[in-house]
């Protein structure tokens, strides 16, 4: 309750600061819109915002789950084999610093203009940090824990599920967090570059449209929705999962 209150107070003080800066600076609505006009733009466009947000979430969900599966596959290849670890870690080292949006031109050439290209960019953006975290997680499992597991007669899937997974879960969770963030960045950036194909567009396309109609309050409303979704996912999903798993297992310190 107290933390809730302090969060609300923090957001309120931000709002006050925003309005103070705007009024003191005498900015026009084109440069820095007032909170009220952002709120009214949000309310007037709520149906479209919801539609676009759902579209974004769907495409990010698809992209992220594909990326997680791919990252798992890469990690497993890394863990079981002699040749693979070197090659795959090299590939990761090459690909990881490459921003997902940089491959958009190639994506458009291969997949055309539309959802497929955006999906490709999302998967590409998310898969490297995911794989990196997973691999680090599996490698950093303490040897004695594995030995204890083996001594208890665990092997194969059982060993993986009851020893390796919990031990590396903090890293996996970290990977999911950065994968999620990169997926969002990729989807919004891709839609800002070439718009969207047809009526199917996410929040990036919403920002793009509002920008071209010079509706700055609408641009801010779109950004606030993206922030709100980020907060909800962080506090409701990631924190809950964290509390139910690694904190409960005492893998990480409180």
């Amino acid at each position: 309750m107290k933390t809730m209150l302090s969060k609300v107070a923090f957001i309120l003080s931000l709002a006050v600061l925003w309005e103070t800066v705007r009024i003191a600076g005498g900015y026009s609505e084109l440069l820095l819109p007032g909170l009220l006009s952002v709120a009214s733009s949000f309310w007037a466009e709520r149906a479209e915002l919801l539609k676009n947000a759902l579209f974004s979430l769907r495409i990010i969900g698809t992209g992220l789950s594909t990326a997680v599966a791919l990252a798992m596959l890469l990690t497993l290849l890394c863990m079981n084999g002699r040749l693979f670890p070197g090659v795959i870690t090299d590939i990761m080292a090459i690909m990881h610093p490459l921003p997902g949006i940089a491959i958009l031109p190639v994506a458009i050439l291969w997949f055309g203009i539309g959802v497929k290209s955006v999906l490709f960019v999302i998967v590409f953006s998310a898969v490297w940090p995911l794989a990196n975290h997973f691999y680090t997680g599996f490698r950093s499992i303490p040897r004695n824990q594995l030995e204890i597991g083996r001594n208890l007669g665990l092997s194969g899937l059982k060993l993986a599920l009851s020893v390796m997974l919990p031990a590396s879960f903090p890293h996996i969770l970290g990977g999911l967090r950065s994968g999620w963030a990169r997926a969002w960045q990729a989807s919004v950036a891709a839609e800002l570059v070439f718009g969207a194909a047809g009526g199917q567009g996410g929040l990036g396309w919403y920002l793009y449209k509002k920008r071209f109609m010079m509706e700055t309050p609408g641009v801010f409303a779109g950004m606030l929705v993206i922030i709100a979704i980020g907060l909800v996912v962080e506090y409701l999903i990631f924190t809950t999962v964290e509390n139910l798993t690694v904190r409960k297992w005492k893998v990480v310190a409180d």
Binding site: S6, V21, G25, L31, G112, G195, F212, M213, M214
Partner: protein, 355 residues
């Protein structure tokens, strides 16, 4: 516990500091604009300077001519060309005082004007064909587009988008009927997609992209911009910000004069212009000459159809108000050209109105 409190207070302080510095950056921009338009607008020799957004395409030939033939420096004006990615960025740069002048279609300008963009029309800038092209033999008119047919045009709110909406309203009664079919693509990318017959079936575009597409067998025009509009209109208009117009009358006048000189020279010397500009456009001079002399293209600074889009755009919800008269959207040199006849409006006044 106490340490936690201190930590929390410190982080709050840090956030406040960051935010206020963001505020300073914003206000710093404002200061620089002021300084820029007074200090920077005169170069070391005391001549005027104007910052203009540069774009690409055949309609920018007069500007290239003006540079090559030194039509601006003749009047003591130095032009700083600024290259920006899109029309949206041009408008934003004008709003934040980073640009003094830009060329833009009438509809995107009206959207900016509606939202308080401090700029007005300083001249018309060319009249150019703009047409919707398709290669799909089943599409005979705009009512033949199906939901899976994608149409490329430069951006939402562009002149192409509004023309399409105008035609849709006339034929189907719904200006937004094809909004879900639109793909926002810059002209060159749209042409590439059209020639590859990939992703899009139609492209709303202008010369030289228009000519390149129509030169292919089976590519034809579905919708003509002039027909959709019901007359001729400036493809672009020259916008000058209020700040520059008010503070630099000499620079303003010099830019208009240089532009007039360039248009006139181009019209008088198309062959020479083709030779001069062929390396810039990276095409053969014969081809460029054909483009420059093609049907419907008019290099002019006269105002055409300035008020013609506003009423439709308001009705369709793209803008919230309509200019009461030309003086709300154009500077005095344009108003003087159009004139104000007592009684019935004159020919030039009628040309600015919707039909």
């Amino acid at each position: 516990m106490r340490r936690k409190k201190i930590f929390r207070a410190m982080s709050l302080l840090l956030v406040l500091l960051l935010l206020s510095s963001a505020g300073f950056i914003l206000s710093g921009c404002g200061d620089r604009v002021q300084a820029g338009s007074t200090g920077k607008a005169q170069d070391s020799s005391g001549g005027e300077v104007i910052r203009v957004a540069k774009q690409f395409g055949l309609v920018y030939a007069p500007l290239m001519v003006a540079e090559k033939k030194e039509f601006f420096s003749k009047y003591g004006l130095k032009v700083e060309w600024v290259t920006l990615g899109s029309g949206g960025a041009v408008r934003e740069a004008m709003a934040s005082g980073k640009l003094d002048a830009a060329f833009m279609g009438i509809p995107p300008f009206l959207i900016g004007w509606d939202k308080g963009l401090p700029a007005k029309i300083a001249a018309g800038y060319t009249v150019s064909p703009v047409q919707l092209v398709t290669y799909d033999q089943n599409i005979k008119g705009i009512k033949d587009f199906r939901p899976e047919h994608k149409i490329a045009l430069p951006s939402p709110g562009s002149v192409q988008h509004i023309l399409l909406a105008m035609a849709l309203e006339k034929e189907l009664g719904d200006p937004k009927a094809l909004d879900d079919n639109l793909v926002a693509l810059p002209h060159p990318d749209g042409t590439q997609a059209m020639l590859a017959k990939k992703d899009v079936v139609a492209h709303f575009t202008t010369p030289p992209y228009l000519f390149e597409e129509l030169a292919q067998p089976g590519y034809r025009v579905v919708l003509d911009g002039f027909e959709a509009f019901g007359g001729e209109f400036n493809f672009n208009v020259l916008l000058v910000t209020k700040d520059y117009h008010d503070r630099h009358p000499a620079g303003y006048a010099a830019f208009i004069m240089g532009l007039n000189d360039a248009m006139n020279w181009l019209n008088e010397h198309k062959m020479e212009a083709a030779e001069l500009l062929a390396p810039e456009f990276k095409i053969e001079k014969e081809k460029l000459y054909r483009y420059l002399t093609s049907e419907g293209l008019n290099f002019t600074t006269a105002p055409y159809g300035l008020l013609g889009f506003a009423e439709f755009m308001k009705k369709a919800g793209y803008i919230s108000k309509v200019p009461r008269d030309l003086s709300e959207i154009a500077w005095e040199n344009v108003l003087a050209v159009v004139g104000k006849r007592e009684g019935e409006p004159c020919q030039l006044e009628k040309m600015q109105l919707p039909r």
